[in-house]
Amino acid sequence: MKAVRLVAVAWWLQLKMRSRSAFDGLLSLLYPMFFATTIFMMFRHGGAAGPALLSAAVGSSAMGIWSAVSTTAAFALQTERRQGTLELLVLSPQPFALLLVPLTLSMATIGAYSMAATLLWGRFAFGIDIAIADPVAFVLSVIVTVFAIAMLGMLIAISSIRYRSAWALGAALEMPVWLICGFLVAISDLPSWVRPLSAVLAPTWGVAAMRAAATGRSPWADLAYCLLTAAGYGVVAVLVSRVMVHSARARATLALT
């Protein structure tokens, strides 16, 4: 119960802070929309209509969730370090990994704003018929995907605790994940060696679940895989955080930027 309260309170605090940041708030909303606009124009130019256009709209709107997390999560601990709050986080009696969940969850929540904005943009600017076959399953899929991407972001944040220029790594991960997780391209169209990598990335299953719910297919198997991979990230993050934080404390490098 204490953990749930911690996550909820810290998530709300982080969300308020990020909403007022031009980079986290405004750019997270706008940047994926530039890509979505291009993609809508490409599909329109290619004569796509009906389910194909809906599928493209769902995929391009989901890009915003990952976009809001990838760069910012990689830079999250560097930001805490600059603010002088990293030591306070490490000293807290709660597990370090748990303290990062609300951080990355707030980023993914802003990504969900971006997703909603992109769907509305597709509807009103491009006239795409956003007819979701199973709205309840779709909303549930979005929530699970937001959570799973937040967990992936947490793993990235922890792994990059000792990497000063982690934002560059996070930014560089943005497009590869859009590509190999099937946001817009069928995974079967990618080279076969990419597919195992897609399978261990939670966004692959989250986007598949959203697309299934939108087009009237069952999303439950994809959602289960999505949750399973997200839980896997949680376990790995806990283990990695113990090693990384202990190493930083032992070498007294926590505050070194």
Partner: protein
Amino acid sequence: MNSLRIFFVGGLTSYRALFGWLSPWILVPTFLFTPLFQILLFVYIGRTAGVNDDRFFLIGNAVVNAAVPCLFAMGNTIEGERSAGTLPLLIASPAKRLPLFLGRALPVILNGFLVAVFALVTGTLLLRVDLPPATWGGIAVAIAACSVSCTGLGLLGAAIALRVRQTAVMSNIVLGILIVFAGVNVPLAAMPGWMQEVARWLPMTHGIAATHDLAAGQRLGDVAGALLAELALGAFYAALGLVLLRWLEWESRLKASLDMA
């Protein structure tokens, strides 16, 4: 002579000192890795959407990546000085502004050119796109023209950085506008009329169109008009940037707001 020294030595020093992206930890993911994945992403989306061929997306996305250093490094010429606390020293110096700021643009132009060339060459090899060797020289000229014009726009961004703090956000938004409007992934002819009109006034548009024509076998002389238009746009934005820099510099001194943006 002093102006030449400021132009060359000052420009290079500023580039090395203020543009933190030269660290391999940033340079490799940002200038080498991301452009390649942008090319691959749009090539695969293009195949899924059933539009154009791989070469179209390869050229558009490789060339537009020249804009990344051109926009961000130029924005950093002011923002970096402010962060380092040296902006008042720069403004207080009697150095002529033209060589001071144009000198900072020269290494950036070269950086943008190299990023786009790397993306184009590596993308061509990865995707096995046919770009005949006879076209390489002309394409290199077109990419250089795009780097020059984008740096002109970057200079305008540098001027605005005297007033706004979030230059990274501003440069990202400008980059997004170029990706949508400049004919990177959607041919200009397939855009609504108002978008075509906006595109005509943006750097990259004419250069990317010229690169497509050159890759299709046209000669450099055939696309000279487009390349001149690209360079003229760059000169226009650079002149606008220098005028704005002068005005905002004067205003910042008047209001004592140099360090407060």
